[in-house]
Amino acid sequence: MPAVKRMSSVQVLPLANYPNGSHSAGPIDIADDVTSVDFNIQRCTTATPTIWPNASTLLTIIPEVSLDNGSTWAECGRSTSSGGIGFDKHGNEAGFTLAGGGLPTGTGRKYRVTAVITGGPLRSTATVEVN
């Protein structure tokens, strides 16, 4: 698979009910000029009430990047969210959680992400957004 370029989206979790535990996606190769990668997961809203509806269902997203072709990995922006309705910066219901961090510079970088679910199952779908 060629390196994923900037301003691209890669589906990593199709719509399904995901049980408790760890769910891994990747690794994918990312282009050398990529500056950040975000994990994008659909959230519960009034219009989509069956998506991740329970506040007791927690999702921890652990993105990692490798600078040595997958030999070693470094975290790049872990985050935790709970289910139920969340809000964006404008105070509106958030249709998704988009989260991540800056990437160390390098060539031939690889990216992978682990999603850890507790209090599930968690019904949703997710992509990786490459910036």
């Binding site: 959230r43 990047v65 470094a74 975290e75 790049c76 922006g77 872990r78 985050s79 935790t80 969210s81 709970s82 139920g84 309705i85 969340g86 809000f87 964006d88 910066k89 404008h90 105070g91 958030a94 998704f96 959680t97 988009l98 989260a99 991540g100 961090g101 800056g102 990437l103 160390p104 910036n131």
Partner: protein, 235 residues
């Protein structure tokens, strides 16, 4: 010694409860800074921490801005423990909301380096403090933290008030469509003066502006080999 911005990183979520930055390889003895912006109408601040169990001290107090929405905090840890995979974390309670977190490292600072500091909300661009801060030592590094309310992507930043400053792009967020935007700018000074940051952000109507100045460590006098050291002799 010259004070310096060593490195930094950022992390953000559009709707979450905790956010951790990517890891840095940092140096023990340096100063570490955590600067965060989040939505107060969803999340209540709980704590900041890092992966090296350092203790962080808030600079000034939390700034509430953007009506009931914006929350802003700036923390430092002087003479901290560094190492590999050094991350910073902010934790909120309540409902999921947007969080932006910057984590960066400063070197060459004196013990008890924090000199002048303040912050405020400004609602007219260019965004500034009410009045500038006057440093008390010639050699200092100025650190300005900016958070804006733009909805633009990108929301581009410029800082012109500190004189020859550098926006540290590793600690800059420009996607105002999804995240709280902001940036860190630094400027190394070799003489005292009065400094007031002046920020612009495309599409912003209000901002949180902060400035903290840090004293550089002074070099100890060195007695060179074969020098003559004259001592007073009592009678």
């Amino acid at each position: 010694m010259t004070a310096a911005f060593v490195q930094g990183t950022k992390a953000r979520t559009s709707s979450g409860l905790t956010q951790t930055t990517p890891g840095l390889t940092t140096t023990t003895g340096n100063t570490f800074v955590l600067a965060s912006q989040w939505s107060r109408n969803t999340g209540t601040f709980s704590s900041v921490s890092d992966s090296k169990s350092n203790t962080y001290t808030i600079v000034d107090t939390q700034l509430d801005w953007e009506g009931v929405n914006g929350g802003w905090r700036f923390y430092t840890c002087e003479n901290g423990t560094g190492g590999a995979s050094h991350t910073g974390t902010i934790t909120l309670t309540g409902s999921n909301g947007p969080i932006t977190l910057f984590f960066f490292e400063l070197s060459g600072l004196a013990s008890s380096a924090l000199d002048q500091h303040t912050r405020r909300e400004d609602t007219a661009s260019a965004f500034t403090l009410a009045t500038g801060l006057t440093t008390t030592q010639a050699n200092e590094i100025l650190v300005s933290f900016f958070a804006g309310n733009t909805g633009s992507n990108p929301g581009t930043h410029a800082e012109t008030g500190l004189g020859s400053s550098t926006i540290q792009t590793a600690c800059e967020e420009t996607n105002g469509a999804s995240f709280w935007t902001g940036a860190i700018a630094t400027s190394v000074k070799s003489s005292t003066g009065t400094f007031n940051p002046s920020w612009t952000e495309s599409g912003a109507s209000a901002a949180a502006v902060g400035l903290a100045t840090f004293k550089a460590a002074t070099a100890a006098a060195v007695l060179r080999k074969n020098s003559l050291l004259r001592l007073g002799v009592g009678r």
